[in-house]
Symmetry: D2
Subunit: 365 residues, 4 copies
């Protein structure tokens, strides 16, 4: 069944396999009148491309995006925006044992179980390259959000057991791990080098902070804003957990500690005295910063010997060599940011039809 | 915008407010030919109803379900199943300060921000009573899954800091906390009594285990099985986090430890040597037990004094008296089970159209 | 698969069988702040109820609607509106040959083919009573449209070969055939009496005119406004054709005759010099009156002997006695109006997110 | 709002403007295991390409399709199939008055009203070239249907007032008008030449016949098979009417004439004694040939002088010169066929989950 689309007012449909001719996305529902260039989108894609450091695969994917539709004279027209990146660096290598074996921690076995066959080259549809489409779409949504005063900022919160301690937003883009804490980044780099020496890999946690979002965005039942964000994040490969606000820690807290009190300032503006909720209550934004986190598992491709089975049902030993990130967290930061941007913009647009007054005011003009 | 439906092949639409005349659900897409009675559904509803112990509100809601459509002579007909529960125990009390104030930790402020007005009686649409519809729908889906050999089993894994240690499935229904560990249940009860004495409340973690699901169910991109489960769980009020398999712990592990190896037994059946993945790889079931967890925050309604603001923007002190659960985790167990059952059945049905061979075999008959 | 919902911003989900305990609809996405009473909805339902004349079945269905949710103190809250009508006049008659035979022109054979079983009482889910949910939902949408200055007016354009000649809007509600032409109504009544004498039935055409709709509503590709209206109308039982504007006549016209020219009046307002297009061009409203028509087949239930087959595959002769309308066109007028109202309001709401400027203006407030 | 997708199990999303770099479609939900080549799709595209006769524009669009994803080693993989055609023959001409005027009968005015701006080159998104994506997707669906024994056959039934009289299926592809009646084709050609001499254009009717479809496909309420077909057809530009079976003629018939009787043959197979219903009863296929028709308006682009208005609100006279089909009916035949194929396959797949027995049989394997 069709399952490659995300969103309601805005619908993002990604397509493409790692080693096919191209990979891309169709972004439908972006309103007319947004200035948009390939350069703008490219900046987002560059944040996820490999080869940024020794901790990302050395593949020299240029990943140049092309706008194929939906933009005329530099302005969106309201019609579907088709974005494409050609797959240039496709090694026509012998996939050997990978072609007919199930790599531990990968989607190979699932694909065969589901479809009966698979494009085994580079993970096929389950390759990290699928996220190119998400990031390209996310860049467009983030641009519109930015013009509305909503900012979406994701960062590496931890790698293995190394956590950001002194959060300094400006530091994020100053190290290749996208950690907003120079010290933590240094320690994390050391940890990763040890992992690599050990033919092993690492995971981590990405946090995303969304600021400037008005209260009243989201829905009270199935399409709670946090439920949509949770789906958005877990739909990213390797994500094994999600938290909103205090997350799992809230389960150990008490009501009196976990509840965020309300106060009004001298101008009558209502604010919360704390933000354990992470900016969402009852599925609806409360005007505070939205805080969500995604737990990323260690990269499954490792060169250490692992137990596996091939498609003939024979037990084999498997070592996965080649170009693999010892940790995907840094490159996934922009993917998290993108999925959040898409989700938030979609929800924001839904809010426009929430009240009869809104509709009357709009329509009477 | 419409946002009260969940699912694709099966669509669950809940409706109703806590203190309106009734609350219910329309369940569309359930195939024809399933034996179904009000009694069967009622058993699920009874697991979430209040008054089961001193840790749940004393309201004597009978919550009797009526089947209004979609079942003829005890068998589903393939048409929408409308299920309704009348709201009997509606106190026509004076809502006083609650009617025009924002309870901390509740959806009140979000509702006003979103809709400009709200049904303040008992939480209105954001009442826990909304889950009646989910549970009624979940019971139907669980029944069909059961007939397919798929079981969905949720339980209280922790309350506050008290965790299940010696897991014994049979113990779950022997204590009112739905903890499959008598000892832990006893300790948790003590903890809850302390909370109550302190005019406070507690949270906890619910785990759901899905057994008997074939590999190949789910999707590789946006509608990953775990992404859908994550949305399903976070769409339940008070859920602040979700984990699949090892969850956040995976972020601190390494690839060699976290990867599940494959082996084939003497009959050629492939199995995993561990289940860190929680039964889902690349968004698709792998045949192993699916394991998901939801973190539930402490009940926000507490009688301790809290800071709040009323609709006139005045700072107030607020104490919430009345009938409130000091912990909602036990009653939410069946809600988690229900949302998982709906999600799993929906995904299972999607799989039926995944291969040309499946379609040919079906159609040629 | 779930297939009982209609609409995107507004989602209408009907449920219920002719002879079950009740029939109803859940209407999700109606914005908060609309005054709504059971009386208002009842007026619409009364237009479709039987017993209005000798040409409609004599069943005394009172069809009293109840609002079960989504309205608080007479105002919509933005949450799902659940509307229900109890099925009071259910004869527990012996369905005899109908229970296990396929009535010509009815859905019986389709139901058995699709579901393998069916609720044979009174047509079950395919009963005309299913439209109660549509009309109740349509009434709500029509009310909001009315407040926006958009009117939706349907009428009987022809019965058999008797057409409205002198269109007089005010005449519509002055005859039980809902024909806005007293003369035509008289002739049509004579024609129907002849049909009845002959144990036969008649069909006709319903036209719907939508006035006051701004230009720019609709979509240019799959969700063209006329495509959505076409689906809305053909989804009504017995509709076998749909036309927009000149419809089939346009296929015989030429470009120079069929094109509507544009002119601007002295105030710069643009208008069309004719309306062959029926108010929709390229799928988008053009500000002119929208004109659509639905062709309704003759009532299939007739007392004349017909050839049929029973579920044992035996050839039988069949006479359908009982309470049946010799023509359903008059009662379907309000159903057409309702489906158009739902479709138009849904499209109008979609337009609110069409431009970056709209979003900025909305959000900056 | 996103509105460029069609279908549920199968989702077709088209993108692209007439004069952008390319035009294409993403086809999601096609099951794994279908042999598919660019050549197969190309044959369908060639049927809609211009330059096939003097009655189609002389533009030499080669319209070569490329498969960008979803096919591996000639077999579909179950993942989205991205198909693209580059726009080669884009004249960088001066659009002059067309750029800022509203062509009668076109979508120009609607686009400006909706989006506030438009890509005026060659109709932009409302160009007939948008149907390239539909036809490419339709070819894929038609292939799978063909393998199931379901054939979808559309043809020109009339042009202006010239109708097919002696239907001979084999004749359809022997004339450039795709009329399965050599004589009628000849007369229609004469009629078109007269239109052209007169600087005018013509319309017509396309019929589509679907054979080999089992009974039981479709849905009884909103997603009636005919309702979905109606939307599919009216979503094609220039379609102003749709009929199923006897269509509008049924509105003048009587029940005894219009009802199709049932009989069983000696093998117990049930058939209808006539097919006024056009193969669909109560929204569900009845095993008979499905017959639908679409009325196509005359090509709006004519060189005769017409009244129009420009974007400054000034009244102007307009003559549209250049390459335009005097009738689009012949090229739209394959578009109708494609939209029907998509709709039918989608509905067929929905049927797979209609019964508990089907699911059990599928899952137990």
């Amino acid at each position: 069944m069709a399952a490659s689309s995300f969103g309601k007012n805005i619908t993002v449909t990604t397509w493409g396999e790692s080693h096919g001719p191209a990979i891309g996305v169709v972004l439908d529902g972006i309103p007319a009148g947004l200035s948009l260039s390939e350069d703008y989108i490219q900046k987002y894609l560059d944040r996820r491309k490999p080869g940024q450091s020794k901790f990302t695969t050395a593949r020299t994917e240029s990943d140049q995006v092309k706008i194929l539709s939906g933009v005329f004279e530099g302005i969106t027209t309201g019609t579907p925006i088709s974005l494409m990146v050609e797959n240039k660096d496709q090694h026509s290598k012998d996939y050997g044992n990978i072609a007919r074996s199930f790599r531990p921690g990968h989607a190979d076995f699932g694909f065969i179980s589901k479809f009966g066959l698979r494009d085994y080259r580079g993970g096929g549809r389950s390759s990290g390259r699928e996220t190119i489409g998400r990031v390209a779409a996310g860049a467009v949504c983030a641009k519109l959000l930015e013009e509305l005063g909503v900012s979406v900022f994701a960062y590496t919160k931890s790698i293995g057991d190394i956590h950001v301690v002194d959060f300094d937003k400006d530091q994020r883009d100053k190290n290749s791990l996208y950690m907003p804490d120079g010290n933590a980044a240094k320690k994390a780099a050391e940890y990763l080098e040890a992992c690599m020496l050990n033919q092993d890999s690492a995971g981590g946690v990405i946090e995303c902070q969304i600021s400037g979002l008005a209260p009243g965005i989201g829905d009270p039942v199935f399409d709670k804003l946090d439920a949509c964000l949770a789906k958005a994040l877990v739909s990213i490969g390797s994500v094994k957990g999600v938290e909103i606000g205090d997350g799992f820690a809230a389960s150990k807290s008490t009501g009196s500690l976990n509840n965020d009190g309300f106060r009004a300032d001298e101008n009558g503006n209502i604010y919360k005295t704390s933000n354990h909720a992470g900016g969402i209550m009852g599925g609806i934004s409360d005007g505070d910063m939205i805080v969500v986190r995604a737990a990323i598992k260690p990269t499954p491709s490792i060169s250490k010997t692992q137990q596996s089975v091939n498609e003939d049902g024979e037990n084999i030993d498997m070592e996965i060599h080649g170009r693999h990130d010892p940790v995907i967290v840094p490159r996934a930061v922009v993917v998290v940011e993108s999925m959040c941007a898409i989700t938030i913009l979609d929800a924001l647009m839904s809010h426009m039809t929430d009240r009869v007054d809104y509709i009357k005011e709009f329509y009477k003009k």
